[in-house]
Amino acid sequence: MTLAVIVLLAFGGMVLALIAPSFDERPAVLGAISGTVFGASLLMGLLAAHESGVIYGAVVMGPLTSAAIVLLSLVGLLVAAGAAIRKGGFALGSGEVHALVMWGVLGGILLVASAHLLMFYLALELSAYSTYVLVGYDRDRRFGTEAAAKYMILGAVGSALLLFGMALVYTETGNLGYTGIAIELGGNPSALARGGMALMLVGLGFKLAWVPFHAWAPDAYQGAFPLMAGFLSVAPKTALALGIVVLLSRAFGGSESVMAQWIGGLALLSVVLGSFWALLQNDLKRLLAYSTIVHMGFLGLALSTASLTGYTAVAYYLAAYIVTSLGFFFALEALEAEGLPSTLESWKGLGRRNPLLGVLLAVFVLSLAGVPLLAGFLAKLYVFAALAAAQAWAPLVVAVVMVVFGYYFYFRILAAVFLEAPAEDSPELAFSPTAFSLLVLLALAVVALGVWPQPLLRWLQAAVTAVM
């Protein structure tokens, strides 16, 4: 099934790219095809849970791969549906967008499934190249091209360092397969190997937008379509975080490893600095970029414990973040499609102009902030539980304090939406039914995950246990 998913997504993307020009006038057809492919791969992902074995010594089949297929296909499915929000499709045609999203998802799946550093690198690049293009897709956008250029050049720097790090690890161990590396490194890696791991971490940290490798994120988010920014905020993150779970547990050895400790340091730095940066943002997409940095910081804290509790927390965090973040970005996309720019200024009084939209936004924002009974709260709670179980008291205290900062910048959005009066001449706010139904669906998911997390948690825990 895993193999079938890989083939399906690769060919699906190709077909979409080839037939795209014929459907420029009818983007909905392309969206439907893309949605069908992702739906199929999601179902196949569920079926793949019982597989085991390794293909070509590089792609692992198993519960975690299956979980990655399901989560990333879900992202793909939602983005395919979200593309319908913008009537008339995207400036340069929608087919390529769907194809790139599909390849991005494929890269992500391979990243998690990989058992070999070369595979890891190829998968990472496949997913990265799709996002480079997606960020700069709208040539007419003021920041689009600039953001894409910056993102790509910095991405190249990151990739180069990652590759260099891999080379150093190879020099020291003579292996590129995870099992071989783990055996050669043993409990105490040499100085050279440590250097290699450090350089690899730069490349990984770049994709996860950990401080100080985060600087591309605000520009990229601001320059992209909100839908693509949403994709950027969840798909590569999900793949990378699960990929690091695999790397840590299969290759770079457990909670004692220096890699886990560095991740903890970078994560803490991201939580703290990201929160400070977010305080004064007035552009919602930049604000959301810093919010992503902070969230990835929380995620990294859980990763750094390198424990089953921590990894389960990571997986739940990702699921919660997918529904919450996509929900918020869909709202941004719908409002931009209605001509409302993504700034705090123009969102003033939104809750009065359209109360139902206000409530939906509140659900997503409160979940991002981590208010009880919503998915975001439990996500943070599980991270804190993992830190407490690992007796990492100092990061725990800092993280809890930074949640308060989070309340400040998230509640600024809510204050603008609900407390400020709309501008005098603001017209009736129209809103597409597609967007509404998607937002309601995601908001229900956010509440459901926050109130009844048990089934999801059990499933994720089973998937994570398989790699320990």
Partner: protein
Amino acid sequence: MSYVELSYWIPLLPALGFALLALGGRSFPGRGSGWFATAVMAVVAVLSLGLLHDVILAAPGWNLAALLGGHHEEALIKPGSPDFPFRLEWTWLAIRGEAGIPLVIYIDSLAAVVTAMVALASLFIHLFSIGYMHGEERYPTFFAYLQLFSAAMLAFVLAGNFFHSLLAWEVMGLMSYLLIGFLYKKKTAQQAQKKAFITTKLADLGFMLGLFWLYLLIGNFDLADLGSGQNLLAIGTGAAAAVGLLVFIAAMGKSAQFPLHVWLLDAMEGPTPVSAMIHAATMVAAGVYLTARFYPLLLFGGVLWVVALVGALTALFAAVLAPAFADVKKILAWSTVSQLGYMFLGLGVFGWAAAMFHLVAHAFFKALLFLGSGSMIHGAATQDIFEMDRLKKHMPWTYWTFLVGALALMGIPPFAGFWSKDLILHAAEEHAPLLWLIGLLAAFFTAFYTTRMIVIAFHKPAMESPWKAAEWTRGAPWLNLGPEEAEPDPSPPAGHHPHESGAEMITALVALAALSILVGFWGSPIFGYGLLTLVYRGEMPELLPASKLMTGYVTGTLVALAGAGLAWFWYSADPLKQRAPLWLTAALQRRLYIDEFYYKVLGALAQAPTQVLAFIDRYLIDGLVDLAGYTSLVISSLLRHLQSGRFATYAFYMLLGALALYVGGAR
């Protein structure tokens, strides 16, 4: 599919009904929302009766003669089915196999009986409200609230985990607040809802403290395990007493026991179906139910006498105050306080099963009385019994059903209160003779005020209400109302003719009358104390004391007849004659000045430290908070400069980071 497996729908259905009515209640045409809510409750009632049926089949059987002798070891003749008490469990808030706080539905006999009681009472109160609330501006909202309240009460009764009991308990508190203030344009209603909320909330602190203390001691919230020997050993006598009493304080608040009874009278500002449902039949009973659930702790801690004492005093106190009032709802409110006192008295004197019997019987006949009073108010357009004009002639259905409820309340055989109250008194006679005398005295006053109410409202022509102009009844000094807002309740408009209420309302009254008679017989010796033996649990010290049962029944009846006779003799002759000294009437009508005492003294006591704290908060804490916020913003604006927008700078950061890690790594 047994009813046990379906039991989670019992609280879930009305909760869904609430969501639907809250979101789309306005789209129902006419009385549609009322009928919808009633239909939901009808399904719930069917489910709860089915559940009760399953439980009766599965419950253990007892030999009555042996039980009455107190030898419950030999009394078991049919062991309960192996899975009884039923338990449905779902994990909640658990990670990595830890227990978390499991969602548990725990169904023993008591839970099943009370669930059926709540569902039936709620069903008929819904039905009654369809007609009673007609023409109300927020008609769908009213039914939405009733639905959520029913959901919370049913969840409270079925919860097998005290944490969820607490959640449901708080939702009930909130609904009580919202429904008392349903007619929110009335200043008195606003004040009353605040008073009720603050009083019960203060008491609820006891529940939380007790519960969390308990958790520290035994590490779970499980209801079924509470009384296990191992647990009691871990808790110890002193802590058991303390936890039990803390929880009992919350129960006193919810069940309006002296000295926390003050809110219930003002709660009568809510519409009458609310008074029937929340402030008579169900929510106030939650306190008794909770105390019954913590019974093992109270017993083990040796503090049952506190419960008994509070109950007996409240029973007498409220029964003495009731005859001084002219508002039919307030008389019934005092009666509720007094009857709840009897239940606590029963719990306190080892009459656990008798108290539970009275809980169920009282729920039906008090709902009946309150709905009857609603029908009276609806027909006569006044709440003052003196202004009601020979309602027996105009409202025969209301009269006869009300009479059934009144006879049950007085304890005249063969109505429900006779069977249940006399068992409580009987247990008191055996274990606490002094409290028995207090209870008898209260029974005398109960019969007295009930008869007075019936004679004046139903048999006498309308007259000038004697105290309407009296200076001490005007407004409510403890509610802090200005003189212009403190007008007495309006008299019926001139030319108003009393009329019988509509069909739904009559149906509800007749059904409740039938239920209150039936449930009385179920617990009577004629049917072998069926209800009592059903809820009886082996670990209770006794079912009933065996001796002198007949004497107890006769004494109770005689006392009730005496009270009723005196009232009949006085009030059918001359209802307006002033028989008590005026100062006494004034004191009783001002509720013995307790409310005023709270308002003035406790209010002032509470305000003094508040002033100090407010000063500290405003200048010291706020200052620190502002400083922290300001510093953060300064840091943020400084950090902003790092984000220059130039990608060479960004790449430099990355290399710097790589270097830092590399140096760290090569170390």
